[in-house]
């Protein structure tokens, strides 16, 4: 009974050797990557025997010989980008196609003084950015096979640095587009985001694709929120129905820092969305919200962690799922309250709406509490569309389909309404509505 799959790992070692030969990177980065590949080879791909991966079988990822995604001409992605849900967002954006930054599709004008949004590769190469100080510190490759894999193969992504006492007037948008080829391909986006003290920012991370052959996005985002800063983070994952998406978003919050994250999952055949925050200073506030709308054979696994390391912090968590067809969902919400974290106030809720008899959800709170003076509550619900509400709407002339959509959207809006940036909130509502309307 093994908890890991270690066959076929040679392919990864070989591509790692190739990567080593090709790229010239500073010694510190080479070391991090080497350690990470060793760690990955050691860990292997997890199996459902591993408690952390109980409901998500990544055997199909382990089995597939993914190749590095080839560079493609930017114009091939231009139209897809111009028509996607957040196309009209009026804000600085950095666009990546098959993992590589594309200046023609990006626009980084209008940033406040001292704000840096650039390719991670460039930031490393420049030698002037403090990447070494932050990379692979918040997201630890040692314990997580996919973080290890991403770290071993990390080449590019975004480096975002917001200096102290800076309030961004517009969000920063990082968009990853995949144009899969005839063979399965993989990209390893890596983002490092640093929010200086007493600053305020909205960060959006988006994933979409063109075409419907299989590919893997293995992404890691590390976010450091310094003292007294406020971050709103929103992720919209609308990968193709053939995609594998394994992502880790890890936040580290200092004293009185507030982070509000919303993860919206609409795409991918199989997705693992890990979102975590460490409340590492007193007075911190973290919100982890999520909405997943699944249909067909989709599977999404939301693994969240709220790690209360210091006293007087509060956290709120609301994840909602809408599942149709034969889709399957997982919610695993871990809350750790460390011995020092007295007066922790934490609330977790996971609510699911099953729109078909074949859809399933596994939901589990996981509380590890080592302090005694804390308030922690959690709850989970699984239900169907309320028949009485449906009849009430129909009895007023609203069609069955529209009534169902209205109730479903109302269910979803509970999460989206908590997004503070209004335009983004409305766009996300529209894309969820569109997504529901196209369901069979």
């Amino acid at each position: 009974m093994t908890t890991a799959i270690k066959e076929n790992l040679d392919v990864y070692l070989q591509s790692f050797r190739e990567l080593e030969r090709r790229g010239k990177v500073p010694e510190w980065l080479a070391r991090i990557r080497t350690e990470a590949i060793e760690r990955f080879l050691d860990l292997g791909f997890p199996t459902p025997r591993d408690e952390e991966w109980k409901y998500t079988n990544v055997a199909s990822i382990a089995r597939t010989p993914f190749e590095p995604a080839p560079a493609v001409p930017a114009e091939r992605a231009a139209e897809r980008i111009a028509t996607h849900a957040l196309a009209q967002l009026d804000c600085p954006r950095l666009v990546f196609v098959n993992g590589k930054p594309v200046p023609e599709l990006s626009s980084l004008g209008g940033l406040e003084a001292g704000v840096k949004v650039m390719s991670l590769e460039k930031a490393v190469a420049s030698g002037t950015e403090p990447v070494e100080q932050y990379l692979a510190r918040t997201a630890d490759p040692a314990t997580h096979p996919f973080v290890a894999l991403n770290t071993a193969f990390l080449q590019d992504g975004a480096w975002v640095e917001i200096p102290k006492r800076t309030a961004l007037s517009k969000p920063i948008y990082l968009l990853y587009v995949t144009l899969p080829g005839s063979k399965p391909t993989v990209t390893y986006p890596r983002n490092v985001v640093l929010i200086g003290r007493e600053s305020q920012a909205t960060l959006i991370e988006g994933y979409l694709s063109l075409g419907d052959s299989a590919y893997l996005t293995n992404a890691v985002t590390e976010i450091i929120v310094e003292e007294n800063s406020v971050l709103e983070y929103v992720k919209l994952q609308s990968e193709s129905p053939a995609a594998f998406h394994v992502a880790t978003v890890k936040m580290q919050q200092a004293r009185n820092a507030s982070a509000h994250a919303t993860t919206v999952t609409l795409g991918a055949r199989l997705a693992r969305e890990e979102t975590a925050s460490v409340l590492d200073g007193e007075g911190g506030e973290a919100t982890l919200n999520g909405l997943y709308v699944l249909t067909g054979e989709q599977h999404v696994d939301n693994h969240t962690t709220l790690d209360h390391a210091k006293a007087h912090c509060s956290s709120r968590e609301l994840y909602k799922g809408i599942l149709e067809g034969r889709s399957t969902g997982v919610f695993n919400g871990k809350i750790i309250v460390r011995p020092d974290a007295q007066k922790t106030d934490s609330k977790q809720s996971n609510k699911n709406l099953l729109l078909s008899e074949d859809a399933t959800i596994n939901t589990k709170p996981q509380l590890e509490i080592y302090a005694d003076d804390v308030k922690c509550t959690h709850g989970a619900t699984v239900g169907q569309i309320d028949a009485e509400a449906l009849f009430y709407l129909r009895s007023r002339g609203i069609s069955q389909r529209e009534a169902r959509n209205l109730l479903t959207v109302a269910f979803a809006n509970d999460v989206l309404d908590k997004i503070k940036y209004a335009y983004l909130r409305e766009r996300l509502k529209a894309s969820v509505l569109e997504r529901l309307a196209t369901q069979p």
């Binding site: 509400a389 009849f391 009430y392 129909r394 009895s395 002339g397 609203i398 069609s399 109302a410």
Partner: protein, 253 residues
């Protein structure tokens, strides 16, 4: 005849609740239905509105000559049937205004009329809001969510005023209302009375019928109409209860 109910039998959960109802409602008429708790008044109302937990086992219902029982609930509503619920349903996340505009537009569309935009709709409902003393805040809040009992009942009549049905079935719209709210609701209902609109008013109390004076009064008992009469019948029932009626099951209340 707007509505013709013939020998209607209906079941829920294996129990026969309606045991052969016959009722005719002409255009412009107001019929009151009274009767003890559990006699089947709400069941009749729900069957007419199309709630599918009730299975019709026998009989037929003609609405404007068409087979009402074959129509989906939304089609009944679009053709002018409206039921004010005895227990209105709360719908979190859907604003009252948005819900009502969607409903009215669905009905308008059905009749080949242009849909109303948000601005036109607000203008249209303003007067009706005044009639039923509907506070602005009740309009922006989710449908019935956290409304008091009286506010819910007022909201039902407000919906009727906005949707302008041909046949309105009011299921105990008066219960739970204080005297002021009762007057507001009655005023709303009376404002809606017209020769082109019929009403079936289900109630336990004469006090509503002081305001909304019915053309006919029927007593429903154990799934059957056991007595019909003019408005005076309601007064008689108020004094004597239901026990004296032939075929009536003793009231349990």
């Amino acid at each position: 005849m707007l509505l013709e109910i013939k020998n209607l039998h209906a079941k829920v959960g294996g129990n026969e609740i309606l045991k052969g109802i016959d009722l005719k409602v002409g255009l412009g008429e107001v019929h009151a239905i009274m009767g003890p708790n559990g006699s089947g008044k709400s069941t009749l109302a729900q069957v007419l509105a199309g709630r599918d937990v009730y299975a019709v086992t026998e009989g037929e219902v003609l609405y404007e000559g068409k087979n009402l029982l074959e129509m989906a609930p939304e089609d009944r509503a679009r053709e002018g049937v409206f039921m004010a619920f005895q227990y209105p349903v709360e719908i979190p996340g859907v604003s009252n205004t948005y819900f009502l505009r969607t409903a009215r537009n669905a009905i308008r569309k059905h009749h080949g009329q242009e849909e109303m935009d948000a601005m036109d709709f607000l203008t249209f409902i303003r007067e009706k809001m005044k009639l039923l003393e509907m506070d602005e805040s009740l309009m922006t809040r989710p449908v019935n969510e956290g409304f008091s009992g009286g506010e819910k009942k007022r909201n039902e009549i407000f919906q009727m005023a906005v949707l302008e049905p041909k046949l309105a079935i009011l299921d105990e719209t008066d219960s739970g209302l204080d005297i002021d709210a009762l007057k507001i609701v009655a005023r709303g209902v009376n404002a809606m009375r017209s020769k082109d609109r019929s009403m079936i008013v289900v109630t336990h109390y004469q006090r509503l019928l002081n305001y909304i004076v019915p053309d006919f009064v029927h007593v429903l008992s154990d799934g059957r109409i056991v007595k019909s009469g003019r408005k005076e019948l309601a007064l008689e029932l108020e004094q004597k209860g239901y026990g004296w009626l032939e075929g009536a099951v003793n009231a349990t209340a």
